[in-house]
Symmetry: C2
Subunit: 349 residues, 2 copies
DNA sequence: GGTCATATGTGTAACGATACACAAGCCGCT
DNA sequence: AGCGGCTTGTGTATCGTTACACATATGACC
């Protein structure tokens, strides 16, 4: 109990000497206690607490063992955005569940989007990587792959040599879009950013294949198929791009749409937060949901139930757990996650 | 560009040999590029990409340098709760800001509350620790201190040898309690858990000093002083304990309180989420706010503005940043964070 | 008593990188 | 010519730990 205030770091060798045993006996005391006699073990522990030794140095141990017992999570957005997005947060919780179970730590790798985040990846002491949805051309992907450790991408893009955990975004968008656009004459979409430059705009008829974010691209393709299935040309579908994934931004762009000469009568969003913003804008504009305006969200978050939103249900928590398993090098049970449509009162069907 | 598929890990020595330079020249190429000639540098980089060398091994580098360039964040609650609490999340964002700026990673240490989380602390390869609010007797605190690295506690408890970043919870509670209880005859409190066993109960007149969580204890003491300042004995103040910090739980206990024979006419909560739950319960019970029931929250979250809640404003983001600075060993500008009362329509004053 | 298996202890050689001290070459300056 | 300073390159020791192979003691069993 009596810690002598040595300012220098205490080593296992010193503990062993103090205890009168070999270094290996001391090492085994920490790593395979059964390998050592009760007597030796207590001598080592006594010496350790006398010297104030807190246990084997993590870096040295990692070097020797070749494993850090830590997973790295790369968030493509600026970190604060990531934490503000409730779905990203439940994804993280899913990873945390698995890490806690396996005794692993999880390192969040703050990616700013600047050039200096590649070295940050390279310097990360982790056994495996999990990359949160990013763009096709994100240099971070190459950096992660170069690390030659188990790696998973959530959402997309698909990268050779890395696992992919995702739902079929196109199919889900087609399905929820069909519900949203049923009986509508002027459907619109509230979308995540289309390019790395995150600006809010209103557009239509653009070339979907040029969208750099695979999740966004696939959802747009699904919405396109849904619109065409309802007999509406894609160039007539207005796309409101939100710079950020939150209710406030969506409310703003939805208000603009609703105030236009030919306001939409159906809006499919890409998250429940966005859909919530649309609902608020509709109320403010005096529109009845779903009669004047059908609205759909995505994710089946708490707010979707509260507002009665038709939405795409998926478990980001389970997907986070699946990513963690893959990043640990365990064979994943199912690479493609499941989803379903939850119909509530915000749509005509 | 041509990566020869060696299954064994490539070392700096191999790169140096391939490039025809010494190991140190190769090392400097990565760490102090200006220290080597343009010519040597390009030879090294060419050899590296030919061999598929991704950069110096992080564990070896950490061992040799004595620094991991990573901060450890210990969350006292089960991780998923932590991520679900928006204030904890903005605290994390504050840490992330500083880490991103310094090129540091942040490791989240999943603490389950079981006995096996002490070894997890000991095994963490980090330069400094940040501990999110916990109880006085949490064994994790001793484990962190034993690591002999810069360490900070947010909220409490105060531990010798560790920094403390916190607002003055007692003073803030006294101030907001005074506003909440002004003109009230039967004040009540909606509280965080009083003990490690997280159960929802309704109590009153208990011994505050026995509460193990310092943040909760100090706020209760402040509320007590506010009640007594309004001429009400503490034993007459009902305390509704919520097992979890969310709106749903608070709504449930508030509904119970409001349905009782002597319902409260003022409720001071410990978070805006809780206060939001109270507001919903009050609406459901047909009470007018603030006339029938005054309500106060804590944190000045987005929901507080939306509902017009009187609350205690503090910046957890700034406090997170302050913790990060302290954990990096930088002298903190101010250990005690600032707070203020934001008066909105939910109180009589 | 002899044989074999099990329990316990030890020494040495890595793991992959960087700090440090030193050496050699080159320049300009007096 | 001689000196000092700057740039660039190198060898060696070391960071703290654990894998591995080997040595010794103990007990069980026929």
């Amino acid at each position: 109990m009596n810690s002598s205030a040595g300012s220098k770091r205490v080593t296992l060798a010193q503990v062993a000497e103090q205890a009168g045993v070999s270094v290996m006996t001391a090492s085994y005391t920490y790593n395979q206690p059964d390998r050592v006699s009760e007597q030796a073990r207590s001598k080592v522990l006594a010496a350790a607490s006398q010297l104030g030794y807190a246990g084997p140095d993590p870096s040295a141990r990692s070097l020797r063992r070749g494993s850090t017992r830590t997973l790295g999570v790369v968030m493509g957005e600026h970190l604060s955005y990531a934490f503000e997005d409730p779905e990203a947060v439940s994804f993280l919780a899913g990873i945390a569940d698995v890490c806690a179970d396996r005794g692993y730590g999880m390192t969040i790798l703050p990616i700013t989007g600047a050039a200096d985040d590649v070295p940050r990846i390279t310097a990360a002491a982790v056994d495996g990587f999990i990359v949160w949805t990013t763009s096709d051309d994100d240099p971070v992907l190459a950096a992660v792959r170069a690390m030659k450790r188990p790696a998973v991408v959530h959402g997309g893009p698909a990268v050779r040599g890395m696992e992919l955990v995702s739902i079929d975004n196109r199919a889900a968008a087609r399905a929820v879009g069909a519900v949203a656009f049923a009986g509508a004459g002027r459907p619109a979409v509230v979308s995540f950013p289309l390019s790395r430059a995150r600006i809010s705009t209103i557009t239509s008829g653009g070339d979907i294949t040029e969208v750099l974010f695979p999740v966004t691209r696939e959802r747009l393709e699904g919405y396109r198929q849904a619109a065409e299935g309802a007999g509406i040309a894609w160039r007539d579908v207005v796309i409101a791009v939100c710079a950020r994934n939150d209710a406030a931004e969506a409310e703003r762009v939805a208000a603009t749409l609703l105030a236009s000469a030919e306001p939409p009568d159906a809006i499919a969003a890409m998250s429940d937060q966005q859909a919530a913003g649309v609902v608020h804008a509709a109320r403010a504009a005096g529109r009845a949901i779903p009669d004047d305006l059908a609205v759909t969200g995505w994710d089946d978050a708490a707010v979707a139930e509260r507002l009665g939103l038709t939405t795409v249900a998926q478990s980001l928590r389970e997907q986070g757990a699946a990513c963690a398993h893959a990043a640990l090098g365990e064979k994943p049970n199912a690479q493609t996650a499941s989803w379903s449509i939850v119909r509530r009162g915000s749509t005509r069907q």
